[in-house]
Structure formats: C-alpha cells, structure tokens
Symmetry: C3
Subunit: 267 residues, 3 copies
C-alpha cells in the first residue's frame, strides 16, 4: 500500500475540451495502470491545435505543483505523424508532451533540462490509434512513470527537440517593442508576452501600450482601484503584463485576442 504522502500527482493540459469523453478516458487509462495517482486538470480549454496557448498555459501553472509532479500536455496537431513523444525532466518535475514546441516556455526558463524521446512502446496502450495519443501514448506513459518506471526506461536522451521563441517581444526601436497577446482569459484580460522581469522600468517610467486602436498608459496595482470600464495595464499573477478593464472585458473593449500585436514604448 502506498502511503498518502507518496500519492503521485499527474496533471493534464489539453485542447480536448470537456464536452466529449476524451479527458475521462485518459483518466480511466491512468487509474487502470496507477490507482494511487492523483490526477489534476490544469486546463482542457487550450484553443484547438494552438501550441502557443498550450505552451503558455503549462508555463503559468507548473511552478505551483509539488516536486515530482508529472505534467501531461497534449496539444497535438501532428498526432499520428512522425513527431516524437517526449519526456522532459526539469524543475524537479516531469513533462510528457509531443515534440512540437508546446514546452518551449518551460524549456526557456529551466536548467538543467533532460529530454528523452519516448520509444518504449511496451508502455503504450495497444493497438495505438493514429488519432488519440492522449489515450494511447501520453496517459499510459505518465501512469507507468507514476507507478515507478524510471525516465531512462522510456527512451534515449535527445538534444534536438523543438524550442520555439514565441514568448519574446521584438525590439523595434530604441525604446519600443512589438509584442503579442498570448491569451484572452475567462475575464477578458489580455495577457501579453511582456514579462515584468524583462521590462521592470514600466513600473517607474511613463509608457504607452498600444493595442486595438487604443493607447493605455496606466499601470494599476489592483483591479479594484480602477473605475469600472477603465482600461489599464496590470502585472498578471504569472508576471506577464496584462491589458485589463475593471469588472469588464478588455478583449471586448479593444477588439483583441490571442495573436493580436501590442506596441510598447517606454519614455
């Protein structure tokens, strides 16, 4: 019997939505292999096939989980093709995902990183379908890892995994940058790829953030200090600058969403 303290935690981040049986089936597979697992949904609302959204979602979440947590990230437009399944070790945790860049933001932040190409198909669910590797590859691998298999048992180390750099704004002038909106959240707040650690001066200098057809010049500390409907910037809970509107949707007010450009000028 496994003592409570040792219950392994597996998280799921996918673009599968919650209207179908997909997520439930992944959990069925996991519990069939590792009944002691604690499975936690990070989100299944990643935009379909949107690797940037998936990358941003797991990047905002993983640090809040215990050591040895196993994160399964399935945003996988290439399912059934030759793209490799990966098992990465970083930050004292495990990450299982297709090799398509969806772990890029975590890769950029953590060192050391050890990445393996998962090839040990004895850990897969057979027959392996060509359309649902969340069920047939990623979930059973996570469950076997949780049940005690070691990373090396799943495959050899690789170095040529995909690292995309969609989270860095481009320098476009002496004091100006062009960034991107990474995500419109449930409240309509717009998370940009400007991270406060890299742009600390907006806390002490005048600045403008241009998005949609509007210019935002206020950095607020809290939502509640602003007038309802006012547009402002705020440092989000993960450190990214967000465009927000108190008790309203900045996404609607600006007509912006994931992928929209944002111009930052610091004076």
């Amino acid at each position: 019997m496994i003592p409570m303290r040792a219950r392994p935690v597996i998280t799921l981040t996918t673009d599968f939505g919650l209207s179908d049986h997909f997520v439930g089936v992944m959990k069925g597979v996991i519990f069939g292999i590792c009944p002691a697992a604690e499975v936690i949904d990070i989100s299944h609302g990643v935009q379909p096939f949107d690797i940037v959204d998936g990358a941003f979602t797991i990047a905002q979440a993983y640090r809040y989980f215990p050591k040895k947590t196993i994160h399964v990230v399935v945003v996988d437009p290439g399912v059934g093709s030759a793209r490799r399944p990966l098992l990465a070790e970083m930050a004292g945790q495990y990450f299982i995902a297709p090799d398509n860049g969806v772990l890029s933001i975590v890769f950029a932040r953590e060192a050391p990183v050890r990445v393996r190409h998962i090839t040990a198909d004895k850990y897969f669910l057979h027959p392996v379908s060509r359309t649902f590797h969340g069920r047939d590859v990623f979930s059973p691998v996570a469950a076997h890892l949780a049940a005690g298999a070691t990373p090396a048992q799943f495959g050899k180390r690789v170095e040529d995994y995909i690292r995309a750099s969609f989270d860095k704004p481009a320098h476009t002038g002496k004091r100006s940058w062009t960034g991107t909106i990474l995500k419109a959240d449930h409240f309509g707040n717009l998370a940009t790829n400007f991270h406060i650690d890299e742009f600390p001066s907006i806390q002490t200098h005048a600045f403008s953030l241009n998005a949609g057809l509007q210019k935002i010049t206020r950095l607020a500390l809290t939502f509640s200090e602003c007038a309802p409907g006012e547009l402002f910037a705020i440092v989000g809970s993960s450190g990214y600058l967000e465009l927000a509107s108190s008790e309203g949707s900045a996404a609607k007010a600006l007509g912006c969403g994931a992928g929209s450009p944002v111009e930052l000028t610091i004076y």
Copy 2:
C-alpha cells in the same frame, strides 16, 4: 499515514471558468501543502464578479457535503483591495471566502456562526499577488486547515462581516411579492428567490407568477408530466421555485435571466 476515512474534503466555487490555468493552479497549491486532500469542484461557472450567483451556488451545495468539509468560495471583484478574507464555521463545516457577501445565504440559514478575519499571513503563498488571492491566500489557507491548523490560528473573530439579503422577495401588496431570478441554469430553468418553505401556500392555492411578458399559473411536480414547450413552475431540488419548460429552455421562452424580476400573486 492518514487513513482513508480521514481524507479532508475541500470544495472550490469560483467565477474563474475552466478555460485558463487558474483552477488547476489552486489545486497544485493545495496538494503541495496537504497531499491527502480530496478536492471537489462545485462550480467554476459562477458569472464573473457576480456575488449573488456565487452566494446562490454555494448555498445550494454545501448541505450535501460531509461534516468538516472546507468550502473555498472565490468570487472576488475586490481582490487586492482591503476587503478581508474570512474563515467561517457553521453547519459543522468551514467556509473560506472574501468578505463581500458571497456567504450571505449560508449565514442566513445557519446558527451558530463563527467568523474570523484571516490575518496569519504565514499561511499565505509569498509573494502574495494583488490579482490572484485564490492561489495565494484562499487555497493555502484551506490546505493548512485541512492539514491540521485550527481556525483560531488564522485570525481573530469578527462580527461585522457583510450579510446581504438578496435572497428575500419584497412584499408589495396583501398577496403579492416581487422577487428576482437568481440564476438561469444549464437547462434554461430559472431559479427564483421564492423558497417553498416561505411560500407553502402556492401548493394549495391558485397563484400567478409573472415573468417576461408571460403569466405562469401551473405548479408541476415533475418535468415529465408537462407537454414539451409548456411553461410551468416547479419546486427546484434546493427548495426554490423555478420557472421551467419541459425539454426546453424557460430562459429563452421568457427572455429572462439572472436579475430579472418575477411578480408572485397568491389568490
């Protein structure tokens, strides 16, 4: 090792939605502190910033949970401001929520009620953000309580917490009242703030409920006894009168939603 029987139950009720990482991160924080916790989602579909909807959601749910359950309710338009985080003991259970009225319906039903202002910031996640107290304050407090801290360790008792009375219809005539629709549920049923315990006579007297531009005079016992599309009233599973339409949406048929007025006359 904690025996099974003692697994502490923590519930979550928020307006965070399920498309972002917010709820998953709260669970990560909880499991990091109290790995034995059983975390149950009541709903994350509370309308954004809607304290009445949050109050109604937790009020309909808490009685169905075991003694000592810890309910975390985060509908928190004032996050980052001076509004207090509260820990309430009532009905043999614990409630952790901002002091903004979101526990009002539970307060109105239960006695005795013991409420504390949570001030022991050693139980918080540091640095405490100004925008995500669900992660930094409410979740870790719930987890520490689940792990064995006593209520008194979190702060001193207060009496001046906010009790709103949005759940009582107004008496407008000898036999007439104006109530409110508290919620349109997933099926389009419209829950009103008329509770059968306070209006038992509608079961034995003729009545009319006016909403939208329609008058409803039938009290049904079951959905299936009514013709498809027929509008009727029914005592909902929590005791509130609901306006409903068999295999259809009363919300659509009446053009009503949360906040819409309902006139009751009993003849």
Copy 3:
C-alpha cells in the same frame, strides 16, 4: 482502512453541464457515503436530454476503465416519472442509469448482461426530490455499491429494460447504407454510426460518404497527412468512421451535426 489498490472508481456521465452546482453536489453525496471513492468525470457535456448522445459518450469510454468501475449515467428527461432506475452488470463493470435506452450501445456489445431494477430506497437520499435523481438516487446508490453493498441488495433482476438501436445504419441498396451523425466533437469532427468492424471494406474499396452537400471519397490514416481544410473520412479512436477536416471543423464545413444523415456507397 481501505488499501490504495482497492479505491473504488465511480465515473459520471451527465447532461448537467459544469456551470451549476449539480455535479459538485453529486460528488458531495458520494463522498459522504464512500470517502474512499475516486470519482472521475467522463463528460457533463452530453446535449441536454439527448439519450443518443449520452449512450454514445459512455459507449466510447467504459472499456478504458478498470474492472469493477461503477459508471453513473444520468441523461434523464423522464426524471420524476415512473421510469425505472437500473443497475446493470456487464464487461466486469457496473452501470447505474435510468431505464431510457442510454445504455443501449453497451448492452448491444456486451454479454452476459445482468440488469436490476433499483428499488431499495433505503439507499436513496431522503426526501427524494422529483427533479434531481442524480443527487438523490443515482449517486447514493453508486456510493453504497462502492462501499460494499452487493448488486442484489438494490433490487430484482429484470429483462424488459429498454434497448434502442440508434447505432445501426440502415441498408438502403445493394452497396449503400444510410447512417447518422452521432456527435460533433469539440474539434468539429463528425462521428457517424458506421463502425469499421462492420464496414471493413471501405479500407480496400472505393467509396463515397455523402453528407451536407458534399461527397467525401478519401479515407485518411492521420489528420496530419491531409491538407489544412481538406475534408476526409477517418477511423475514429473508438472505431466509428468520422468525417473530419485537418486543423478545421468538418461540422462547420458541411453544416452538419448530431442527427444529420450520411449516405455510404461502397463501389
């Protein structure tokens, strides 16, 4: 204390959605009776009152769960009427559902099947409401079964339970059939009721699938081999033929959804 290996698994499949307190309350009831239970959501996104959608959802999921799993399926337009609650044993698992055909696809696949009419109301939550048997009947029965009650304790065996046959295409010509779209999934893929086990020849013969106003003649092995926007057929992860569009929505492209007809001709 129950050892980890023995944690009973209960799954939930409903049309309750996730915006209300319904699902959370079902879990509260279950944990109050059987604290050791592991409750897994298969889906709460079954279309409201849609028995075919519910039948298809559980049919695609149950095989991926461990032996002795207890599946609770509540799509129940007849709640409060005389329709019977059932407890079925098949495939080494348990199924608890209203007697309205929602288990039909599982019944058709499995043998032997043992079905009981649940009558032992001592296992219900009292007072039993007329509108929420998910809370008052199905959940507590599942929890008592998980906690050790035997199937025979819930009621006597019956043979006249409802078996619908909505999952079989109609033979309309020597080499042609009319089928139905069972479901549009989260990605807009359209699952038909043509199962590859019954129509293996489409893998080796030319064929056409007519849906909307379009004719589909390609059977793809993977999504990624097709051009973005191309319409094709593919064997879904549960064996049903699906109409799909790579990185796009076939449902939108064809203007089809659940219930739409599909004509198959094999040449």
